[in-house]
């Protein structure tokens, strides 16, 4: 047999070597990007917020398209999630955008379970991906990823503080999805109130331990802008798809008698900041965080829940076969134990039933015996009565015969006189 010797890479990790000329692997990022372009991208946004906060309008404004549907009614019995997928294209980039809306959020009288359907939805997307990943024959590279990459949480522009529903919901979601809180319809708040509102919201989030998404600051090219934007959270946005003429340009705006709120004017609202952060700077990071942090956490919890564990580093590396055998035996053992238990229970029940039936049988026998005896007694009585009647009859017969005899004798003796008397009577 051939012997094989492996030599690990020399030294600690790899050596750094200088290149004597142009090799050409600097084209690798281009090769990677081209492959992604051919494949297309997907991005999934979840909008959580009460009905009427302008979620659909904001999506329309962000992506410059009229997406769908009519505004929802306020009388939904529970919170449902409605998702729609759109194909957008810009220059050579094709994006499969999925927008998920929470329908009926905040409309119920009892809102205790509002967050549940949202959590279930997010988990369901993770579960679908996990199922695909665990398949034997899988097609991960062509799988349509439905996991939520960003959750825009719409805060009502009360100007005071977060509602308890908001805090509870965000707390439940912060370990499952990247949360970006935004103040909706912020043209309802004045500038000074807005500053106070933002501070209040941020401090409430911190004091309640809610982890919102932080724009990443580890890459120098975007560290500065991201850290500036982090300090502007939550973004105060205004959405509008209507255009108004300002000066000699048409701009997206909302027109009031007292003035016009321009959506893309940074003095008026933070819409441009949101678009910049969400789409133009951090879309890829949002996707990556979803995959490497939130999904991994879900996967870990789910697998541990199902009872699996990795071997500890001291034991020798396990083989699939061994671990499977072990687990299988354990399972079979449990199965057998359960089977035995069931069988025991069954036997027990049968015994009990048998005893019951025997008891019943005994009773019936006794009843039968009693009846029989009764019957016999009756019969005896009747026979006795019959006998006595018979006796009486006999006695009577005897008496009758004796009487007839006497009568006959008497007749013979005074028979003629009786005849004469009869004849005389007849005359």
């Amino acid at each position: 047999k051939q012997e094989v010797s492996y030599t690990a890479p020399e030294g600690e990790g790899a050596r750094a070597v200088p290149l004597a000329g142009h090799v050409g692997f600097d084209s690798m990022p281009d090769q990677l990007v081209n492959k992604s372009v051919n494949h297309g991208f997907c991005f999934n946004i979840l909008c959580v917020g009460e009905t009427g906060l302008g979620k659909s309008t904001l999506m329309d404004t962000l992506f410059n398209t009229k997406f769908e549907g009519e505004p929802t009614q306020h009388n939904q019995p529970g919170v449902t999630l409605k998702s729609n997928t759109y194909e957008l294209q810009e220059s050579n980039v094709r994006l499969k955008l999925t927008v998920v809306n929470t329908v009926g959020f905040g409309d119920q009288i009892n809102k205790e379970d509002s967050y549940k359907s949202i959590v279930e939805f997010i988990d369901a997307q993770f579960e679908a991906y996990l199922q695909e990943e665990l398949k034997i024959k899988r097609t991960l590279h062509s799988y349509h990823d439905t996991r939520i990459h960003a959750c825009l949480y719409f805060i009502a522009p009360t100007g005071h503080s977060l509602k308890s529903l908001d805090l509870v919901t965000m707390k439940k979601l912060d370990s499952k999805v990247n949360i970006i809180p935004i103040i909706a319809k912020s043209d309802a708040i004045s500038k000074s109130e807005l500053a106070k509102f933002k501070i209040k919201i941020t401090s409430e989030l911190v004091s309640n331990g809610v982890q919102i998404y932080q724009f990443p600051t580890d890459d120098e090219s975007v560290a500065e802008i991201n850290s500036t934007m982090n300090s502007h959270l939550p973004f105060a946005v205004v959405g509008s798809t209507e255009e108004v003429k300002i000066g000699n340009k048409m701009v997206k705006a909302r027109q009031y008698p007292w003035g016009t709120v321009q959506v893309e004017n940074e003095n008026h609202c933070d819409f441009v900041k949101l678009r910049e952060m969400l789409i133009r700077v951090n879309m890829e990071d949002l996707r990556e965080q979803t995959h490497t942090r939130h999904y991994e956490l879900y996967r870990r919890c789910k697998l541990e829940e199902m009872g699996f564990k990795d071997t500890d580093p001291d034991s020798k590396p396990f083989s699939l076969q061994e671990t499977y055998e072990a687990k299988r035996n354990e399972f079979m053992g449990e199965l057998q134990k359960k089977e035995e238990e069931m069988r025991q229970m069954f036997v027990q029940r049968v015994k009990e039933k048998e005893a019951e039936l025997k008891e019943a049988e005994k009773e019936l026998h006794e009843k039968f015996d009693r009846l029989k005896k009764l019957h016999q007694d009756e019969k005896k009585k009747l026979e006795e009565k019959k006998k006595s009647l018979d006796d009486e009859l006999n006695t009577f017969k005897q008496k009758k015969t004796a009487a007839e005899l006497l009568q006959n004798q008497a007749q013979q003796a005074g028979g003629s006189t009786t005849l004469k008397r009869d004849k005389e009577r007849k005359k």
Partner: protein, 336 residues
Amino acid sequence: MIGHTSVAVGGLYGEKASGPTVDFSYVGIDAILEQMRRKAMKQGFELNIMVVGQSGLGKSTLMNTLFKSKVSRKSVLATSQEKIPKTIEIKSISHDIEEKGVRMKLTVIDTPGFGDQINNENCWQPIMKFINDQYEAYLQEEININRKKRIPDSRVHCCIYFIPPTGHCLRPLDVEFMRRLSKVVNIVPVIAKADTLTLEERDFFKKKIREELRANGIDVYPQKEFDEDAEDRMINEKIREMIPFAVVGSDQEYQVNGRRLLGRKTKWGTIEVENIAHCEFAYLRDLLIRTHMQNIKDITSSIHYEMYRVRRLNENNTVVAHANGIPEHHLAAHEM
């Protein structure tokens, strides 16, 4: 970014021209390309190349020529006399190289002893085992519950097979090796030391080799069945008509026509390695590095590795899809 201008914040991207006009239809979705590029630059790339062939065919030199630096094992280990080992050994050595900000971890896997014995039966086995071991290592990490953020990729992306320049046809060893290994790894066959063949001899040899590969059902890279679309097929057909590339390697520079070029100097002339009139090194380099490197890695991970995974997971003779064993009744849903 071509064409569209945008309302950029604070001059974020130097390359973007921000003019006076505002384009409403611009959302900025295509900025994701730039984001991906940034992420790739930050993470760096990994590439694992295996070289297989008898000793003396210029494997180390070719590696050094491809990457323009001393990346081969021989250059690193300063042993004066390389003895041909009695058995096949598998030796890998890694380097960190960087070009224009793009960092790459290159691992060159050498197989000294291949084809050098008198009896070369089963000499592909240790190599096959090594390749499968790398797939296994990756699989083990992938099925861990607590797994690394980026699974270290030691899988062999590409195996360069060196054919000696006999000029006639493939030897049984070549056929046997390529037949078996082409099923688990991307094989790129090259005619080594091609400066001993004239152009006619080279063309004849190549045609013969292609015929033999076809006759034996050997699918070398780029494999026909993995062409994604018509455009892919067109590009790859052109490559398939040229393989195997006839290469010459050199890490010596000579002065030719006033320029310093990589080449081999002989009494009858200097062979310029990067001159496509002389040899096909440039085509090999372009294929492996400049155009198809990502594709080679993709085929390894989404086809060869997946095939290994399917085989491995089915080995347990049940419908188990997870290493730690999921009870059958639960897993019925997982089976394809």
